[in-house]
């Protein structure tokens, strides 16, 4: 069973709450996905049109909240957002995002590492969103990240896992769970991440903007489960060539 910072999860699919066409559909889709942890963002209240309060929709008993620091452009902004999240009753969990480039929304490795270090010391359970850089993953673990969240491809691009080679190294070396985040556009992408040995995946856009988000949420749930089962049953071994039995060639020197 997946355990992050001592908390057990029976579902390896984490959900997002952004980009849904309505609160009602979001609620149903999350329900169908079976996920137990969901991300939320923090924003200033629009005083002229406050709109729905997401906290009145989410069942906190059912879902563990993973506030993100989306919008932060450097470590200081992310740290400020994190403190807001905690003050808002969001708990200690945090998906740390530092994305200075508004075009690609790729995470800043230097600021992410710096913020992780500070926030871990403040008692946050930090899950940093990161580019799929194996050394960065290790450095983040060294400063106390509870999990690492490498991207499959840039946020919202639906391109799947373009960083396969690096994510494989990250998984191989990891001392904490690896959650593949961003770019998973189809259930097959999620299944691949799980087959590779990822501990969990986080999916938002692909479910939220699907023709039928509720059915798509189910599809992702099944894909994640199938991928995990395949991984656990010993997949991931690709035979590069078949074994030919041969005589004692080359070892005649042995006594």
């Amino acid at each position: 069973m997946l355990t992050i910072a001592g908390h057990k999860f029976s579902s390896r699919l984490f959900g997002g709450t952004g980009k849904f066409s309505s609160s009602e559909i979001m609620k149903k889709a999350l329900d169908a996905s079976g996920c137990e942890m969901i991300t939320v963002a923090l924003r200033r209240v629009n005083l002229n049109d406050p709109g729905d309060d997401i906290m009145s929709i989410i069942d906190r008993k059912r879902y563990l909240l993973l506030p993100n620091t989306s919008g932060a452009r450097d470590a200081d902004e992310a740290i400020r957002l994190a403190r807001f999240a905690r003050a808002s009753g969001g708990g200690d969990w945090l998906k740390l995002e530092v994305t200075p480039d508004p075009r690609t929304l790729l995470p800043d490795p230097v600021e992410t590492l710096r913020a992780t270090e500070v926030l871990v010391k403040e008692g946050f359970i930090v899950l940093p969103y990161m580019n799929a850089d194996p050394i960065l993953a290790l450095r983040l673990q060294d400063v106390g990240a509870a999990a690492v969240m490498p991207l499959g491809s840039p946020i919202g691009t639906n391109q799947g896992i373009l960083t396969r080679f690096q994510i494989e190294i990250i998984i191989e070396q990891a001392r904490v769970p690896v959650v593949v985040d961003a770019g998973l556009g189809a259930p097959s992408h999620a299944a691949l991440a799980m087959e590779m040995g990822a501990d969990a995946v986080l999916v938002n856009t692909a479910i939220a903007v699907a023709g039928d988000p509720v059915i798509m949420a189910q599809a992702f749930a099944k894909a994640v489960e199938a991928g995990r089962m395949a991984y656990e049953s010993g997949l991931g071994r690709q035979q590069r060539e078949s074994m030919a039995s041969s005589p004692q060639s080359g070892l005649e020197f042995l006594d």
Partner: protein
């Protein structure tokens, strides 16, 4: 008197508490976090927190996000 809330100048009644102001905006004080002149205010203090002229207030809450 005037305060700055979320970067907008807003007219508020003299001596209004933070909690009353949040309620007047039709918001739930339990899900809104307030930063008053750069300091996060503890939720249990909202009711007794009296705002002053020229205060800079940030009201923040969770929204959907991935």
């Amino acid at each position: 008197m005037e305060i700055i809330c979320n970067s907008e100048p807003r007219q508020v009644a003299e001596g209004i508490s933070l909690e009353k102001y949040i309620l007047d905006l039709d918001l739930n004080p339990n899900t809104v976090v307030a930063e008053y002149n750069g300091q996060i205010v503890r939720r249990e203090d909202y009711a007794d927190y009296i705002m002053e002229e020229g205060a800079i207030l940030e009201l923040i809450r969770f929204v959907g996000g991935g």
